[in-house]
Subunit: 335 residues, 2 copies
DNA sequence: CTGTTAGCGCATTCAC
DNA sequence: GTGAATGCGCTAACAG
């Protein structure tokens, strides 16, 4: 509550000197410094960051836009983003779009209003155009927003191939593929590579397209119910973790044995994929690295440290689980 | 980038008039208003929120402190808090303490620096004293921080009793209770009521105390391993969702049948409790309501709308699942 | 080394 | 109705 002026008065010096003393900028004799520190302590002085922000035209806040914090992938992504930002002296402001693109837009507007210094977006609702209009720092995860906005993502294409290899190894012949639909999104790559590889071997691949902003567990559960009702003869399923887990649950409920009767592979290898029994075999994204790279790319932009590449692709790997027979690369099944 | 002064110049009026016109405060003739709006559009004017913040000494940001965003309970809590804050025109800043109380302290300091208008804390690391020192609005979830800080939480005591009833109904005689340890925390109530009720019926209750800031899945998994190694004869388990799910997984891995051989009850009824098979029987907190009440209580304080009660306890209910035989209140087992 | 001054961009008096 | 002046609290440039 006490201002710098009051401290100056109390210490019998000018405000400039107080500012220098407390910020360690510029020369201040150790004697007056002592006086100032004492006065500051006495008045319980805390600098008002709002005034600093105005002067520097910077808040030290980064906005993070995700579709749904309750989805385990985004929860852990935001967690690691926050941790990395904190390390670098920034704070994290979050936005759940929950499928409402107006909310995405509003947070984007905060860039112009100088409320945030930059934005990391992992949401796919708003028109690409709206993002392209912005001139301030933005980094995108998994969706191409044009040449001016750096894109970070994992190698979904390779992920799809790895999943296909697992399915072939297990001898599966009729697969259900649960995919999302959203243009310019890297996740599409995994479905196309998977399908191509499987069909090249004469395997049937049926496709369920879920609405792109559908992240509720219930929606996945209902979808799983439908799949098993309409296609009781499938012997393999590939989809995002939640879709895979919902199918695993449903398969068990129908009395099917996993992995003997049906193979299930997820994508992301989120925490819940380790909770189910048997543990879900899945393609793992390195979320921690993804967060770290996204933050550093954004801060390179914000602080104009250096030029950044437009596209950064991270590697994926197999999370060995118990939902596919005869694991890849000679790894054992682990429950 | 354009300031209010430039707009005033462009429109040939004073800055005060521009401010009034654009904010709808005070009288402005519709004629000059038109001129101003045109000038603003031409210059693509956006008000700089930093200047506004300084003037009003308010940011419209609320800090939310949680132990671990990757824990499904806190992920959904933060999700709903953010949604409610958004409805009321506020933004959400998050802090993962990940067990480090220094981080909790630093976010608390942002209150004094005016970076946030208030704080909702659901983390239990930092000393209560540090919170009591604060004079600005704070609301606490599940932990008593003294008479000046409103406390919101669910009825853990009733939750413990409901769990005990379920266990007794299932005829269990040797229970393992997984509890946390942290003083002043409401969650302790559920363990004491549960134990009291069970022991009154002559049931043995063994107790595993996990470190209070331990929220990793791996820690729960290892704990489950140990429980089954050291106490292969137990026939019931009660603990937080993650502990319960880890035990369910481990029981299945050991070849036990759930719920025939052992009953498992969780607390919170988070999303993963619906993913496992069979679905976890659990005591459900109404997270959405918890978030709503916390936000409204905090904003009552921030905006000095009205006085708030010091203690608000929300009801709990049973999530019917498939991990306890002979469900309560005649509800059927649902997988 | 230190005090004074001039903004940062906006919102609100108060004269006109 | 409207413009000019004042201040929110701080930092940085400048003169001393």
């Amino acid at each position: 509550m006490a201002s710098i002026r009051e401290v100056a008065q109390e210490a019998g010096v000018g405000v400039g000197t107080v500012s220098r003393a407390l910020n360690g900028s510029g020369y201040v004799s150790s004697e007056t410094r002592k006086k100032i520190e004492k006065a500051a302590r006495k008045l319980n002085y805390t600098p008002n960051e709002l005034a600093r922000n105005l002067y520097h035209n910077k808040t030290g806040i980064v906005g993070v836009i995700v579709p749904d914090l309750n989805h385990p992938f985004f929860a852990s992504l935001v967690k690691y983003i926050e941790m990395e930002l904190y390390e670098q002296g920034y704070k994290t402001m979050i936005c759940n779009t929950v499928g409402i693109s107006r909310r995405e837009q509003e947070y984007l507007d905060m860039l112009e209003r100088n409320m945030v210094d930059g934005i990391i977006t992992a949401s796919h609702g708003l028109e690409v155009e709206e993002y392209r209009k912005q001139v301030k720092p933005i980094v995108s995860i998994d969706r191409d927003l044009g040449p001016r906005i750096p894109l970070i993502g994992c190698d979904h294409g390779k992920g799809g191939e790895l999943a296909a290899e697992l399915m072939l190894q297990a001898g599966r012949r009729k697969i259900y593929l649960v995919s999302g639909i959203s243009p310019n999104v890297m996740a599409n790559d995994r479905y196309s590579t998977f399908t191509r590889r499987m069909e090249a071997q004469g395997v049937t691949v049926l496709n369920e397209i879920m609405e792109w902003n559908m992240f509720h567990w219930d929606a996945h559960y209902k979808m799983a119910e439908e799949i098993f009702r309409n296609h009781p003869d499938i012997d393999g399923i590939f989809g995002g973790d939640l879709a895979a887990i919902a199918c695993l649950h449903m398969a068990q409920r129908k009395g099917l044995r996993v992995p003997e009767d049906i193979s299930i592979i997820g994508f992301d290898a989120t925490t819940p994929s380790n909770m189910v029994y048997p543990r879900l075999t899945a393609i793992r994204q390195n979320v921690e690295l993804l967060a770290e790279v996204s933050v550093n790319t954004l801060l390179d932009l914000v602080e104009q440290r250096k030029n950044v590449p437009h596209r950064l692709i991270l590697d994926v790997e197999i999370q060995s689980g118990g939902t596919v027979l005869g694991e890849f690369f000679g790894k054992n099944i682990k429950n």
